[in-house]
Symmetry: C2
């Protein structure tokens, strides 16, 4: 709305969301080196994304997945709903197959893992801003291979709660279920993940990004 400024020099407005202040600031420094990019907002929590975006009206939002308050996937969905004109580029530490799928389903335009060369980030931002999709091809292949989560809602919930490492009784108490039910869900999850253990099942599910907060 406040557009059409001086004419040719109209930078892409960016919002950064990452819970680690140091990398957030560093990314800001990196992107600010580019003439056509301008960081207009920085936040450290997922639930601060939408409010900050309303204030600063960014063109592209770079969101981390692991964040307190609201994870990056949920933040993506919320941001898309609140400001449809703002595109989302998810930037994350882990190239979990499920993360990519969920991010795209939530309306992200791009997905970049943090071990891609720094040079490519600015280009990814420009591509996303231009309406293109940016996805790591290797990761895309893995995503297709991994498929959607075979776990049912309850199984996912039980497995997620089991991450802390409590006994069956603990889980049953926390979820208000009977111990037998918890064991059944765990058993099903173990079977579906191909694991031989509760611990192994958690590891597999986590690596595939099947344990993201619902």
């Amino acid at each position: 709305m406040s557009a059409s400024g001086a004419g040719p020099s109209n930078p892409i407005r960016l919002l950064l969301a990452d819970d680690q202040a140091l990398v957030r600031g560093a990314l800001a420094a990196l992107l600010s080196l580019e003439d056509d990019l301008s960081v207009v907002a920085e936040v450290g929590r997922g639930d601060e994304v939408v409010p900050a975006a309303r204030d600063s009206d960014p063109d592209v939002a770079l969101l981390d997945v692991e964040m307190p308050g609201l994870d990056g996937i949920a933040a993506t969905a919320a941001l898309r709903a609140a400001l449809p004109s703002c595109r989302v580029l998810v930037v994350t530490t882990f190239g979990r197959p499920g993360y990519l799928r969920r991010a795209m389903e939530a309306g992200a335009s791009g997905f970049v893992v943090k071990d891609t060369p720094a040079r490519q980030l600015a280009d990814a931002v420009r591509r996303v801003h231009a309406g293109l999709r940016v996805v790591d091809p290797t990761l895309a292949a893995e995503t297709l291979a991994a498929g959607v989560s075979p776990l049912t809602d309850r199984e996912t919930e039980v497995l997620r709660t089991a991450r802390g490492g409590g006994t069956v009784a603990d889980l049953a108490g926390a979820l208000h279920l009977s111990e037998g039910t918890v064991r059944n869900h765990l058993s099903a999850a173990i079977g579906k993940t191909g694991a031989r253990n509760r611990a192994e099942a958690i590891r597999v599910a986590e690596q595939n990004g099947w344990l993201l907060g619902e």
Copy 2:
């Protein structure tokens, strides 16, 4: 050797080590904004730190703890041994109490977690270069509270191997021990960590930084 340049404008030479290329590059951009700092080397693996340092002769090395090849603590020790004049500032994601202790014991001059404000990083580098120590006070307190690891070498090894989530038989095979011995070590570790589980024990030990590679 090629020292004593133009006189007053003699920037502090930096080496960056972080396995995530994006944050490595971003940190380089951030630090390069400072007139008195100059990034002379970047590596993505722990075992590349010493070779790169030999080539570039940095004044200060910023090392991540989580790295392939060699973790940041071991890299610190190796670097201190190879180039005693180069000071080390450990920059890490996790403020595990044990990490700080181990880093200092290995000869680091500073320890910074990645959620400190970006502004403070350059100052931390300057302080370290000046011969001062830089430590997050909160973390220092936690470190004193947590104390050294109560785990014996073997217990640590067993617990570390158990992270993957295998059965007792798996562990026994991997470590060339009898199943009974493995169970004994696990039991001892569970007792010492105050956990009620193998999984809980692993979690506790990991949070305290007691499982670092020996």
